[in-house]
């Protein structure tokens, strides 16, 4: 059983946002917002590069989260893992070409008994992502539920 010593464990990753990747991502969502896909439109709007959708945070945080999922202690729990809640706060917008550094920290770990009497284990992971200029772009809170047997 994973003890409380896992609290504070930290995982980091770097991610460079590319225009092509953003286009692939929004194609999956069938999202035709020109802020993501139309380079000329965005240039005429504010002179910058195309935007990444706010929820692209899931992509640039994924590598740090994968370090958690493949942590030898945590990986045993992954088959019974479901995503319970997700919270993101967006700060500086993320745009194609940005280099994002993410730090994910295990912030909390507790159990919860549901109506059927099953004991679920809850992990809360806080992420902080910043860009190449040191500006915070996104802070997140992942609530992961390990379903009771």
């Amino acid at each position: 059983m994973l003890g409380d010593n896992i609290i504070g464990r930290k995982y980091e990753s770097d991610y460079e946002v590319s225009y092509e990747k953003v286009k692939e991502y929004v194609r999956v969502l069938d999202d035709q917002n020109p802020h993501y896909t139309d380079r000329e439109f965005v240039k005429s709007l504010d002179g910058g590069h195309p935007y990444a959708p706010p929820t692209f945070a899931a992509i640039y945080c994924q590598r740090a989260m994968n370090h958690l999922y493949f942590d030898p202690e945590f990986s045993k729990l992954v088959p019974r893992l479901v995503h319970g809640e997700q919270e993101y706060h967006f700060h500086e917008p993320v745009r194609a070409g940005d280099k994002i550094h993410t730090i994910a920290v295990i912030d909390n770990n507790y159990t919860k008994t549901n109506q059927a009497g099953k004991v679920h284990r809850i992990f809360e992971i806080r992420t902080t992502s910043s860009n190449q200029d040191g500006q915070t772009v996104c802070t997140g809170l992942y609530t992961l539920v390990i379903r009771g047997e």
Binding site: D31, Y88, R147
Partner: protein, 116 residues
């Protein structure tokens, strides 16, 4: 004045695979039927992050994405391939509450967002 908005999306049969490719979330419950069933699920399920992304798409609605300041969601029930999802949001100024249901009326997501 509260402003209400509704949109809907059909989840394609292969969407969990496409989203896995785009997001690198290759958790087997999203791509392997036997594995998903062996772990107590009805079959492969869509990544919660994908349902959240579709919710943000509903909220931003072709506008400037920087207007979305925060989003907080709870995943209530699994989304399955070929589900039809209905997104309902109510905005009171910058504060928006949103509920996503499947075609059987089951709630799959509820949440709150801030749009400036």
């Amino acid at each position: 004045m509260a402003k209400e908005k509704r949109s809907n999306t059909i989840i394609g049969k292969y969407m969990p695979y496409y989203y896995a490719g785009a997001s690198l979330d290759f958790n087997l419950i999203h791509i392997d039927q036997e594995y998903a069933k062996a772990n107590g699920l009805p079959g492969i399920i869509l990544q919660g992050m994908c349902t959240m992304a579709l919710t943000a798409k509903h909220l931003i609605d072709n506008g400037n994405p920087a207007q979305l300041r925060s989003i907080k969601v709870r995943f209530l029930n699994p989304v399955l391939p070929e589900d039809e999802l209905i997104f309902d949001s109510i905005a009171n100024g910058p504060d928006v509450s949103v509920v996503v249901k499947n075609k059987n009326g089951g709630r799959v997501l509820k949440g709150k967002a801030t749009l400036k």
